[in-house]
Symmetry: C2
Subunit: 250 residues, 2 copies
DNA sequence: TTGCTCCTCACGTCACGTGAGGTGGC
DNA sequence: TTGCTCCTCACGTCACGTGAGGTGGC
C-alpha cells in the first residue's frame, strides 16, 4: 500500500520533480524509505500533494500554501485577493490581444504606440519616438486627439523634420513665421496642448520633465529653436504656454 | 543631447536594471562613455528600448525580439501564435476564477475538486482523495454524475468506510450481500461506471492503471475484498465489469 | 562635507526542468 | 546482461530585482 515517487506523481497529475520540489520547500513531509533507499509514500502524502496542487493550480504561491490547510478567514482573504489579481491580469491580457489584433490588421511598425499603425508611415524617427513617450504620459483621449491631427499632415512639418542642426537664423526665423499661424490655430482647437496636464502615472512636474528630456534629446538645436520661438510668439498673445517655455529651457 | 541610464529608463517607462538587462542579453548596444565612465545614450538607443519594451509588453520573449526588427512573415506568424497562447491563457484564468468563486461561495474544503464543495463534508478522507483522482481521469459529465450520486448517500457506505483492515470473512461477506443490490441498481442507472472510458488526457489503459493504483492505495484489504466480491457477483449476472476485475487484481 | 547619481559584480526570485552520474530490480 | 526505475547533487530557466561596495558631481 505504498507508492513510489512516480506513482504518486502520476496519481496527482504532476511530475516527480514537482513532488521533490514540494519536499525542498518544506510543503510535503518526507516519507519512510525502503531498505534500498526508495521513498514509500502513503495515502496521506497523496492527499497532501493533491491539496498543494489544487491550490497551486488556483495560482496560490507555494509560500502561502503552508498557511492554508483549512478554509479560515485569512485563507478566504487571500483567495479573494487572488481573484482580484487574476481579474486585472485577464484585463491586461485582453488589452494585449487587442493591440496584437491592431498590429496584424494594419501591419503597423513596431516602434509606434498601438492604434497609430495606420498613420505611422508619414512620421519621422524622432516623431515616432516622441509619440512613444507621449503614449506614456498622455491620456487615451489626448492620444486620440493627436492621432486625429496626424491624418491631416501639415506640409510645414516636412520642412521642420528636414531642418539641419546648424541652420542659420534666417532659415529658422522664416520657418517660425510661417509655422506660428497654424500652431495658433492648433492650440485654439486643442487647449490642453498648451500645458501638459497631470498624467495618470506621473505628476505634472514629472510629465514636464520627461517630455522636456525627450524633446531636447530628439530634436536638434535648430528645430528646438523653431519650437521655442513659435511658443514665445504665442505666449505674447495669451497667458498660456507655460509648458513650452519650461520644456525648452533645459 | 545624451541621456543617462536613469533618463533613458524614465523616458522609456522602465527601470535602469531592465535597460542593463537588455545589454546583458545583447538586445541593446552599449553607448559611448563619458570621461568618468558614465554611459551616454542617444535617441537611437531610446527608440530601440521603446521598441523592445513594446514587444516585451506584448509578451514577446526577449529571445525572440532580436529577430523582429521589422514586420515580416516570421514576425507575423510569431505574433499570431502569441495571440493564440494568450487566448488560451485567458480561458485558463477564467476557469480559475470560476473555481475560486465556487470555493468562496460554498466554503468548500480545499482537498476536493471544484464544484464538489457542497457535498464534500460527508465523505471520508479516502473518498475525497479518490474523488481528486477521478477529477483527473473522468469527463465533466461523468463527474457531474458522481456528484449527483453523492447527494443521496447510501448508509451502507458508512459501514464500508468504517470497515477495519483485519475484518473477518463473515463481516466482509455480510456487507457484500447487502451492498450488491444497491450496486446492481447503480450500474444499471450509470452504465459507464462498469468500465472506465477513455479519458481526454489518458488512454483507457492508463486510466485503469491510475485508478487501480489509487484504489489499492486508498482502501484497506477488507474494503477492497468487499468491492472485489461485489463486482464478481455482478459480473456473473452480466458480461460487463471488466474494469472491476482488473483494478483489484493488483 | 553631505547627499545624490553612476558604476560593476554577485546573488536572489519563482516553480520547477534538465542533465550528470550512480545504483537497484527483473 | 539489458532496459527500466530510483536516487542525489548541481546547474539552468526567465526577466529582471536586491543589495554590496565603490566612485563622481555639486
Amino acid at each position: 500500500v505504498s507508492l513510489s515517487t512516480k506513482q504518486l506523481a502520476d496519481l496527482a497529475g504532476t511530475t516527480v520533480k514537482t513532488v521533490r520540489h514540494y519536499h525542498d520547500v518544506g510543503l510535503l513531509d518526507l516519507p519512510e524509505r525502503s531498505s534500498n533507499g526508495y521513498k514509500q509514500y502513503t495515502v496521506s502524502h497523496l492527499m497532501r500533494v493533491l491539496q498543494i496542487k489544487r491550490l497551486s493550480d488556483l495560482r496560490v504561491p507555494l509560500s502561502d500554501i503552508s498557511a492554508m490547510s483549512a478554509i479560515d478567514e485569512d485563507t478566504e482573504k487571500l483567495l479573494r485577493q487572488l481573484d482580484g489579481d487574476i481579474e486585472s491580469n485577464i484585463e491586461q491580457l485582453q488589452q494585449v490581444r487587442a493591440d496584437l489584433d491592431a498590429i496584424l490588421r494594419h501591419h503597423s511598425p513596431l516602434d509606434v504606440p498601438a492604434d497609430f499603425g495606420a498613420v505611422s508611415r508619414v512620421l519621422s524617427d524622432s516623431d515616432r519616438a516622441l509619440l512613444m513617450v507621449y503614449s506614456r504620459v498622455l491620456s487615451e483621449e489626448q492620444l486620440a486627439d493627436i492621432r486625429g491631427l496626424l491624418f491631416e499632415r501639415d506640409p510645414l512639418r516636412d520642412e521642420y523634420d528636414a531642418l539641419p542642426a546648424d541652420a542659420d537664423d534666417k532659415t529658422i526665423q522664416s520657418l517660425v513665421e510661417r509655422y506660428a499661424p497654424s500652431m495658433r490655430q492648433l492650440l485654439a482647437e486643442h487647449p490642453w496642448m498648451s500645458q501638459f496636464p497631470e498624467a495618470s502615472r506621473f505628476s505634472q512636474r514629472e510629465t514636464e520633465t520627461i517630455v522636456a528630456e525627450a524633446v531636447t534629446a530628439l530634436y536638434n538645436p535648430a528645430q528646438r529653436a523653431v519650437t521655442e520661438r513659435v511658443y514665445r510668439i504665442l505666449e505674447h498673445e495669451s497667458a498660456t504656454g507655460a509648458w513650452a517655455r519650461k520644456s525648452h529651457r533645459q
